[in-house]
Amino acid sequence: MMEEQRYVLELQHISKEYSGNPVLQDVSLTVKKGQIYALMGENGAGKSTLMNILFGMPVIHSTGGFTGTIKISGEEVNFLSPHDAMEAGIGMVHQEFMLIPGFTIAENIKVGREDTLPTLPSRVFGPDLERLNRPKMNADARVALDNIGLDISEETKVAGLPVGYMQFVEIAREIDKKNIKLLVFDEPTAVLTESEADQLLKVMQSLAAKGIAIIFITHRLSEVMQVADYMTVLRDGELVASKAIADTSAVEIAELMVGRAIEKLVDDDKNTKVSTEQNEVALSVKDLYVDMPGETARGVTFEVKSGEIFGIGGLAGQGKVGIPNGLMGMFSSHGDVEIFGEKLNFTKLGNALSKGLAFVSEDRRGVGLLLEESIAHNIMFGAMTTKRDYLSNFGITKLLSAGRMNRHAKDMIKLLDIRCVGGGQRVGALSGGNQQKVCLASALTMKPRILVVSEPTRGIDIGAKKLIMEYLAHLRQEEGLTIIMISSELAELRSICDRIAIVSDGKIEDILAPDASDAQFGLAMSAAAQNSEVS
């Protein structure tokens, strides 16, 4: 029994599915008193779902609940709302701040739990009319602020505080709750500057020293290495590994996050790797800076040869996704980029497109497709706008040629095995995998010289995944198309790419051959973490 008590939180065999899709499978973890427990994993690995279950969020109950048990300090609990979780001593520091701008820091810390003094009306009409005990509230707030080393008056209004301070006010609010046992930090450093992040980590350590257990959700390896005691990696809803930080290394964690038993996605006979070293340079990128929030590229340099499949990998948030988005002009960027020797003009919208670069975006529904339009319309649209294809003469103007559009859509549907009722079906009604095939068909219809595919297999089923990968290999082999593929799935990159660049901290850390060892990839991916360990 005493042994049990050591754990503040025990999650046992937690499983959850959303309308038949398992998002968490048999995940168990235990957090001790005063421990900093890092919860890691790529986007969509199931971290948020796990936390929603812990807090009894309504979204969990309205979608059929979950299986498994939750114990707080050895007692089984079943939270029906976040309020229950709060009562039991669990707090959350949100990624987006939940503060009231017009209130002072003290008021924000105490909101919902105000100290009050009785007044004459309150004696008659009940406690709702009691007045605030401001001196006590301010004093309590001061204690909480001092605890986290925030040197700012508790009577300052929250509106206008720097972002970093707001984060600390959130923490102060949580630790002011008297019985707080467990605090969840959901990617707290994502919006902070480096020095603010450092201070936050220190605060976490001092809180842990006071006996509060902390669950620390983050992508950043360096932070985990710096403060965490224990870590768990989730991947596609499954627990990959749980290890004490002392027994592991940044390199190993990076491997755990991306590596998995390599499944053969493309058969070798379908992807004969030819030497492209003698070929001309298709794309040359020098010192590319892309200001994409969360995926900033800071001085990327690489060259891709014609006819090559070039992979770009790395952990989330390191900047790999920023590279294609910057090239396509989605975010402000600068640098020297040449496409088949022609200089790319970043100030001219659509310049990369007209130079023969086609892009399949990682944000399928947001950027990749017109969800309300038909499959055929989506497929022809890019070629229609950039190349003025699929138009036929109509008096003084040119109109869409529905016949050619539909014939081409039919070919593409057959070629890529898009499962649909026909070319006229609304794209929004398709499954993720089939939507992705439409995106690919649309990019190919533009007859690009270089095809850039960003996260082509995110969120799609294995069948569609295999088909898309095989088709990419086929395009290169049969048509000599140059392909740049950005992916979080190292296994995928390794199964078709000729060379793989690993992006870390916004820069290319290393360019590796697909058959380089897991350790080498792990080393490159965790480079930023190791650098900060040394410094």
Partner: protein, 364 residues
Amino acid sequence: MERALGALKQGAKDFGLPRIIILAFFFILLLAAALVGMDIPWLISDVLLRWGMWGILVLAMVPSIRSGIGPNFGVAIGIAGGLLGALVSIELRYFGFLGTLDPDGITFGLVSISLAVLLALAFSSLLGILYGLLLNRVKGNEMIVSTYVGFSFVALFNILWLLLPFRSSTSIWPIAGQGLRTTINLVDDFGRVLNNLFRVEIGNFIIPTSLLLTVLLFCFVIWVFNKSRYGMVMTAAGSNPEYAKARGINVNRARIVGTTISTALAGVGIVMFSQGLGFLQLYNAPMWMGFSSVAAVLIGGATVKRAAIFNVLLGTLLFQGILTVALPVANELVPEGNLSEILRLIISNGIILYALSKARGGSK
């Protein structure tokens, strides 16, 4: 049998329940009109006339919705431009621009209205560009902003109507010798020209052929534009700006183009409206025309994100049809004093409210 029933069900779903209800209401009104002994052919003629008069004003909603600014509540801006165009055309006639054309001949009428339309297009397009630039600064709040910009334009033009140096005796107050009248008779200009050209009369039933053809012509032009490259580009920019950006489309420019076409159509629309009425209505008359136009297109099945020509034609017919039939029926049923006017307001605003609440509509 089963399949036919299925197809029918799907067809009804595409058409949309709100439209079926409104259509049923329209027929019930017609039935009521017949029961109280009203002249049905005459009523239907009036519905057709109003359909033609409002058609282009409602058509103005299509480019604005497709370009992403939503229903153009600010058609008053285009209307102001259109009125200015019509007024200048009157002025030109007054100073002898039309030369020796026979004032009673058909050529005179056609030249007169073409002139008014061209001038309306010019003035409204200019205002539309400025209006588009403004709307690009208030992204996300277009509907409310455009409503109030429309109101402000009405106020601004109220001042201009008093100050602009028009001289034509048809337009200005005869005694004061300056300032434009509240209603200007178009009998010497293009009043009812298109109503009467190639008019088909069968007893009391009248079809304003040329007016309807003109509306259909403008619908066709917009339909062609929608199928053209830039039309599709504009639609994409409107329905998903990020998608458009990734394909090298200048979203702001597409929005300005959409707003400008919409405003220009509103200018033409008010010329057609005045033509059908036989009068120009200045000052506060355009204030609420935006709401009627928006309501009509929404009733026709458009949403704030999608609109097609079909929505315009059906919506205008239903909206104006109900208003036209409801008023005399209400008059017959409640002859006492002001009640019928109140009833009319309840019905017209009720349809607008219903249209706005059902803004999702069918898929066509």
